[in-house]
């Protein structure tokens, strides 16, 4: 049971054989007014399960309120009288009743229910209507293809019953909606639908296959004398009359006698003929009621009996009929039944493929790296690499090479100096990467020696061992710990320059053994 929002107009659509009846109902000052009605031809006959192009001049837009009638033949009804309870409890009771009512799983159907205002023996009557979910999906899909979105889907007889609520006389009424292929009936009291039933939909008392002659096609019946265009008296098949009486009895079942209708209204395509209406009333022993609705303004030419369902459907969306039954689920329906499963299957397949792909990538990568590492280990490259690095470290820890040191020292010696003694000891010496050098020789004077000492101290730790004037010169001996030759150029160019330009030539008076 859901409440529809307030709207100022609504479209009602009733598929009827070879046409679609579309009505636009507008709220007017005096009540309601049929603003527009169209009969859209469908030459091949209407079937929700068959995709069809939009009828010409389809006027309903996607945001316009639209109520659609579903044929009574596909609707299952059940009435029962539960004890008073809260709505949540009542809803569970309804679900239990559905399990009994429905021939298949509840999930394959959509349903709605309505608790009437009729109370009898402390119990309130509840009417349930259910229809296959696939039918609703097809309706939504077809309307969607035409650019419309239905907000209400209700059984045809229920839509017609909504129109009864506008009758001036609110006493109980038996409403029969007769079309070429099915007949639905309902007992209506004011705005309450007390019971519903469908002819040829398996009445409890009905046994055997439906009689083909049960279908009433007024155009096929001959005219009755004295009534232009009308059929003859007693033209309805006896079997159909029998079925009609069975339906009547079914509708009255469990209803208190005070609610039994004494009059009937016949609407629908087959009700255009007065003979049919009278014969139906005669068959049921009821008075034939002619609808008189002061609250509804209809244009001239609109036969309300024929258009009752479409007008009633539109009416169900307006405030005059709040809480009308609606078989469209509150949740958005999938477009087709197979689509969501297929979609989820695709999603699951993609996720599975992605996970499997990641797993394979990880496995292949791990295998490749493992194989590569095993190959490296088998060849002993790791050990060799460590060993070669250690050898390199050992060689680097020796400090500068003797040729570099010699070149550097010769470049520092001042004029008139002579190198008499030179001793080189390769490192490692102590914790540092350095070599030990001892230099002995003569320089011009002590001032020159002091300058030499200052220059040597830039290369490393200097230890002054001895120094004394000797025959006009200054004789010295100095110890050095050299970690690195200052200035990279000397290191890089040392061997090349030395091999081509000996110290004796670059420093004419200072090379080892050079002339003083």
């Amino acid at each position: 049971m859901r409440q529809q929002g307030r709207v100022n107009y609504a479209w009602g659509l009733e598929p009827a054989g070879h046409c679609l009846r579309l009505v636009k109902l507008v709220r007017a000052e005096a009540g309601l007014r049929v603003a527009e009605y169209r009969e859209l031809a469908v030459p091949r006959g209407w079937d929700w399960s068959v995709p069809m192009p939009a009828p010409p001049a389809w006027p309903v837009g996607p945001k316009e309120p639209l109520a659609v009638c579903v044929c009574d033949r596909g609707v299952l009804y059940r009435t029962f009288d539960p004890p008073p309870a809260e709505e949540s409890v009542l809803r569970k009771t309804v679900l239990n009743q559905l399990e009994v009512l429905l021939p298949a799983q509840v999930g394959q159907f959509v349903h709605d229910w309505r608790a009437t205002s009729l109370e009898h023996d402390g119990r309130r009557r509840v009417v349930i209507a259910a229809v296959r979910k696939q039918t609703i999906q097809q309706i939504v899909a077809r309307c969607g293809a035409w650019g419309a979105v239905p907000q209400v889907v209700l059984p045809t007889v229920w839509a017609s019953a909504g129109l009864v609520g506008l009758l001036v006389d609110p006493s109980p009424l038996l409403l029969l909606h007769l079309s070429a292929h099915c007949a639905g009936g309902a007992v209506v009291a004011g705005r309450d639908v007390l019971s519903c039933g469908v002819l040829d939909q398996g009445l409890p008392e009905h046994a055997g296959a439906p009689d083909p002659q049960m279908d009433v096609d007024p155009t096929s019946l001959p005219a009755r004398p004295g009534e232009a265009g009308g059929p003859r008296v007693g033209s309805l098949p006896a079997s159909w009359r029998f079925e009609l009486r069975q339906l009547h009895q079914h509708l009255l079942k469990d209803l208190p006698a005070s609610c039994w209708p004494r009059r009937c209204a016949v609407v629908g395509q087959a009700a255009e003929l007065a003979m049919v209406r009278h014969e139906v009333a005669d068959t049921l022993g009821l008075e034939l009621a002619e609808p008189r609705m002061d609250a509804l303004e209809c244009p001239t030419g609109l036969n309300l009996r024929t258009w009752a369902a479409s007008v009633g459907a539109a009416l169900s969306m307006l405030s005059a009929q709040p809480g009308a039954i609606n078989l469209l689920p509150a949740r958005k329906l999938p477009r087709l039944s197979a689509v969501p499963l297929r979609r989820w299957a695709w999603v699951a397949a993609w996720i599975a493929a992605a996970v499997l792909g990641l797993f394979l990538v990880d496995t292949i990568r791990a295998g490749r790296m493992d194989a590569r590492l095993r190959e490296i280990r088998q060849e002993g490259r790791c050990d060799r690499l460590d060993c070669e690095l250690a050898v390199g470290d050992h060689l680097e820890s020796g400090g500068p090479a003797p040729l570099e040191v010699l070149d550097y020292l010769v470049s520092l010696l001042p004029e008139k100096s002579r190198l008499l003694k030179w001793k080189y000891q390769r490192g490692p010496i102590g914790p540092g990467r350095c070599c030990e050098v001892t230099v002995g020789g003569t320089v011009g004077d002590d001032k020159a020696f002091t300058e030499l000492l200052q220059k040597l101290s830039q290369a490393g730790k200097v230890e002054f061992k001895s120094g004394r004037p000797d025959q006009g010169k200054f004789r010295f001996e100095v110890g050095l710990l050299i970690q690195r030759i200052p200035g990279g150029a000397a290191t890089a160019e040392g061997p090349a320059r030395s091999s081509t330009a000996p110290a004796g030539q670059t420093q004419p008076a200072s090379g080892p053994g050079g002339a003083p």
Binding site: C382, H394, K423, Y424, Q425, S499, G514
Partner: protein
């Protein structure tokens, strides 16, 4: 026993069976598979770290050899020989380099090999050389020692310049190379 189940009961039983099946599948298949995957990833990460370490060491070795090539010569990159071969190679290389530089060696004295601390399996092979030369020959000799096919490192070098004989240098030096393996004494 004829047990009649309502549709709701049947659904409940089916749902329970499906849940049980999912649990068993997860316990027996999915979780072990995830564990295996996780282990493979951890193994791959360890392998990658090891390969990265090797790559880093390789880059360090290349840079180290580039630094050592100038002062010690291109023989730095060669594989180490065994002790006996290294002894022979050291003597031959030293003799060739000294001869090419004009150094007149008076004495070659092989030294006792010694192990290196922190370098297991690597021995230091040394030879002491005595001789005479002048300054130019000395620098030429040191330059020639960097061009030998065998790694030859000057471990110790001492020069004495006799004041009475200017230009003549008394040279005593210890040349060294590296070899792999244990020493056969």
């Amino acid at each position: 026993m004829n047990l009649k189940l309502t549709p709701r009961d049947r659904r409940a039983v089916l749902l329970g069976a499906a849940a049980l099946g999912v649990l068993i599948l997860a316990r027996l298949v999915v979780l072990p598979w995830l564990d295996g995957w996780s282990a493979a990833r951890a193994h791959a990460a360890a392998d990658r770290a090891e390969l990265l370490r090797i790559e880093t060491q390789l880059a360090r070795l290349v840079a180290q050899r580039h630094r050592l090539k100038d002062p010690l010569g291109s023989a730095v990159g060669k594989d180490l020989q065994d002790v006996e071969s290294a002894r022979v190679s050291l003597f031959a290389s030293a003799q060739a380099a000294l001869g090419a530089a004009g150094f007149s060696a008076s004495d070659y004295q092989p030294q006792k090999p010694r192990r290196l601390a922190g370098l297991p399996g690597v021995q230091e092979i040394c030879i002491q050389v005595r001789g005479k030369c002048n300054g130019e020959q000395l620098t030429n000799m040191l330059a020639q020692l960097c061009k030998t096919p065998t790694l030859v490192v000057v471990r110790q070098l001492s020069l004495d310049n006799d004041e009475k004989k200017p230009g003549e240098l008394e040279v005593t030096m210890i040349l060294m190379t590296l070899a792999r393996g244990e020493v056969r004494s």
